[in-house]
Symmetry: C2
Subunit: 499 residues, 2 copies
């Protein structure tokens, strides 16, 4: 197996460069002295370039050809066949985009991000518009590098390998059409839930202790993670057993850190559950961003905001925040954790309205890449859809079309993965319940390992071996389907809001 | 200047790979979750290999040829001429050693280090001997890759570019011959200094505050450093303005952290003082390990253990450690900071006897590589020299020949740089005094910036442009010379011990 060995060695180099880059990124956001920023940008660019050069190299192409012969008709699920198949897919995608175009997207994206910061501050879309037009123009050229049925397909494929607009669009439209009336009904009903108890004074030192305890209690390998503070929370993996969770502590609102920490730990549990054999290969990753998000959201929302889990957490909360939470009861905490309230800002949205923020962005991205909308028309379209989906009036672009940085950096096709993650979480939750029985009872009994192990067998251990559609079929027993999620949300929030 | 631009781009890549490796190393020792160790070893090996491949490449050779033509007869001190000259020197050294031999030294060194850990634990030299024999054998083959006058020259050159055994040997022998009688006289005299006040209970949290304050008070750029805890303290640079200082806090002995922090900050100040233009080139480093050590030791010993500096530190010490140091006077602190006491362990030695620990290792390394000593004879030779130089009896190999890990990893030629650093610090201190007048008065007046600026002009800003011998000639006004150091030590400790 000479070619396979050489392929593994080259994949190992590519992986190590990617992991080193992940550490540079994590360090930049959690540890780096501020004056290190300029040099760090160069270091990140170099590792990105060296990694891409290998991933798109003729040498890798030749190794893949030889390795395919060696692998022959081995089981497609085998490590060797998967390695060759998935690496070839990445190699082909890497080669389709000229290095110059890639570099130009990175460069313009970085310039546009800085322009966005200023424009958002001043709520001045006109100042941002030429930058965004350049980025959208480059992304249209990017799309043209691929064969596609729909011009949005290549963008989506960057995050959800193999998924097409034809599949995702009706799915997210059904989700949206199911949620708009639910959100409207909750809005009309009002009351029912109130999170005042989570606002007030929550000393950061105690929040930090809580966060450490929360992660320690989750089924995440001891000695394989750490928690640090940052501005925009994220989780990243330096290895299967070297996971970096980050969070932000808001001294005036406990919810900011508490569920964000469980969310990021959900990402970490997925990485931690990958088959160790996948380390240092392109298979050593989640099946897609949607699948990754399904885990952060399942642990955050379906476990972390559930009655059983919150009841278990209550004594620790009472002890750490005696004054605010010393006398709260479990039901009050449950309702505080599950307030639904249409709002302007995606980052602050609850789990129900969040999907409508995504629906809005998805619809606008489709119109942009179907050439049905110009960048100049974005603010009006944004505001109209906010009214239509969420029933909110956008007072200014800062709280509207300028609220997210992602488009500035060229991340089109990225937002839908959040809702896909919620949909997948809904399906997995249903399938797990069918297998394991009453999940709330399991959580109440402290059997989080049982849930983790089920998810590990069905999802985590496969890493990137399967395309998301294949994994959904095997893990959830069918294609992606918003109905389980819609049913769960209607049941849960129907009860809370007395609908 | 097309070739120079290409040379700069390639040097930038080589540098970025080295900096990323430095961050992986720092992270491993200060932040990494313990279960990340196995993957980290692979990541470090990959970055080392990719960096070396570039540094020894034909492409770099061709660029150096073309760039030399472009540079022509420009001033040898110019950035461009220095870049081509120093990069060529590194390229030539990198190509002289076959990749296989390099890999084998790394592999055997790593095996021998693990064997050393067990052998040291059991004080069992016989178990370590075959490993050390293999490492010495490989290093003898390494030496044969170079042209040399003395077989120790190529080893020394790894740390002190251009220095030869013929220069270093008489210099270190003069230092040794001057110190042996001084140490003996201090031993006979006894008393005079006592560090009991630095032993006792020193809460780690307060030591951490002290360490942060000490570094903040040194002339090190704000926002360009951080301090973390580790087992074996070190300092490393991720960029000129991104410096990582590490230390270890001993709750029972204040001295362990206090001067170690100043020592590591000394290394950081050197890096921080490099000309920013040198960033991302092979010039972006100290002139040699000896020069680097001259700065850590000057800041630690000549400034940090001096009367003026300690007097300035006294209020903070009294405030943070009220119980132990609330009523100590400046003279008592000065004497506690400057105890000289022959001992078995190099790592714990004071600034006078330290050089005799080095003299012993230097003598043994010379005998090994002159084929006058076999590995099997090392313990007896070690014990005899300990008696001769330090007047101490070695009770077992654990506290003798097995105390240091460095030989296991193949680091021969490394130990003498410590004493060279002390020698250079002595010469720089004399030259700086001649220029700036009474240095103690300057320190008493809080003019640490004045000292740093002098050192910056004379030493730091040049980076690796000059060979250490050239830099010594320019910065100290002559060749390396142990006399200033010997004079300073005789004066300082003669007064303390009443000799």
């Amino acid at each position: 197996m000479a070619a396979l060995d050489d392929l593994l060695a080259l994949c190992g180099e590519i992986s190590d460069l990617g992991r080193a880059r992940a550490l540079l990124f994590w360090d930049e956001r959690t540890q780096m002295p501020p004056r290190g920023a300029a040099a760090r940008a160069e270091q990140l660019a170099t590792l990105t370039r060296l990694r891409h050069r290998r991933l798109s190299s003729d040498a890798l192409g030749r190794l893949l050809d030889s390795a395919r012969t060696e692998v022959g008709d081995r089981d497609p699920d085998s490590f060797e066949a998967s390695l060759v198949r998935v690496t070839r897919r990445e190699w082909e995608r890497a080669r389709k985009v000229p290095a110059d175009l890639r570099a130009e997207i990175a460069r313009q994206g970085s310039i546009a991000e800085r322009a966005w910061e200023r424009a958002r501050e001043a709520s001045d879309f006109a100042a941002f518009r030429p930058h965004l037009e350049r980025v959208v123009g480059l992304k249209r050229r990017y799309v043209e590098c691929f064969d596609f049925e729909h011009p949005y397909d290549p963008l989506l494929d960057d995050y959800e390998p193999g998924m097409t607009t034809a599949e995702v669009r009706p799915l997210l439209e059904r989700l949206r059409d199911g949620l708009v009336p639910l959100v409207a009904a909750i809005g009309e009903r009002g009351g029912g839930a109130d999170d005042a108890c989570l606002h007030g004074e929550f000393p950061v030192a105690a929040q930090r202790r809580l966060a450490e305890r929360v992660i320690s209690d989750l089924p995440l390998e001891d000695g394989a993670w750490r928690l640090d503070e940052t501005i925009h929370p994220f989780a990243t993996g330096i290895a299967i057993s070297d996971l970096r969770i980050t969070t932000r502590f808001d001294p005036g609102y406990l919810g900011a850190a508490l569920w964000a920490v469980i969310h990021e730990a959900g990402h970490a549990m997925y990485q931690n559950g990958l088959d160790p054999r996948l380390e240092r290969t392109p298979l050593c990753r989640s099946a897609s961003l949607g699948f990754d998000e399904s885990q952060s959201r399942m642990w955050e929302n379906w476990i972390g905001r559930g009655r059983a889990y919150l009841a278990r957490m209550l004594p620790a909360l009472g002890e750490l925040f005696e004054q605010r939470l010393g006398s709260i009861d479990a039901e009050e905490l449950y309702r505080a954790a599950n307030v639904v309230r249409p709002s302007l800002i995606r980052m602050e949205a609850d789990e129900v309205t969040y999907n409508l923020h995504i629906a809005l962005r998805f619809e606008l991205e489709l119109r942009l890449f179907e050439d049905r909308l110009e960048v100049a028309e974005l603010p009006d379209a944004w505001n109209a859809l906010s009214r239509e989906y969420l029933g909110v009036e956008v007072p200014d672009d800062r709280r509207g079309v300028l609220q997210d940085v992602h488009w500035a950096g060229g991340a089109f096709g990225y937002f839908p993965t959040y809702s896909l993650g919620n949909v997948i979480a809904g399906q997995l939750w249903a399938a797990m319940g069918a297998d394991l029985g009453d999940l709330e009872a399991r959580i109440a009994a402290g059997e989080l390992e049982t849930l983790r192990d089920w998810l590990g067998r069905r999802v985590y251990r496969h890493g990137g071996k399967l395309l998301p559609a294949e994994l959904a079929a095997r893990a959830c027993g069918g294609p992606l389907d918003p109905e389980p999620l819609l049913g769960q949300l209607r049941a849960k929030f129907g009860e809370i809001y007395g609908l």
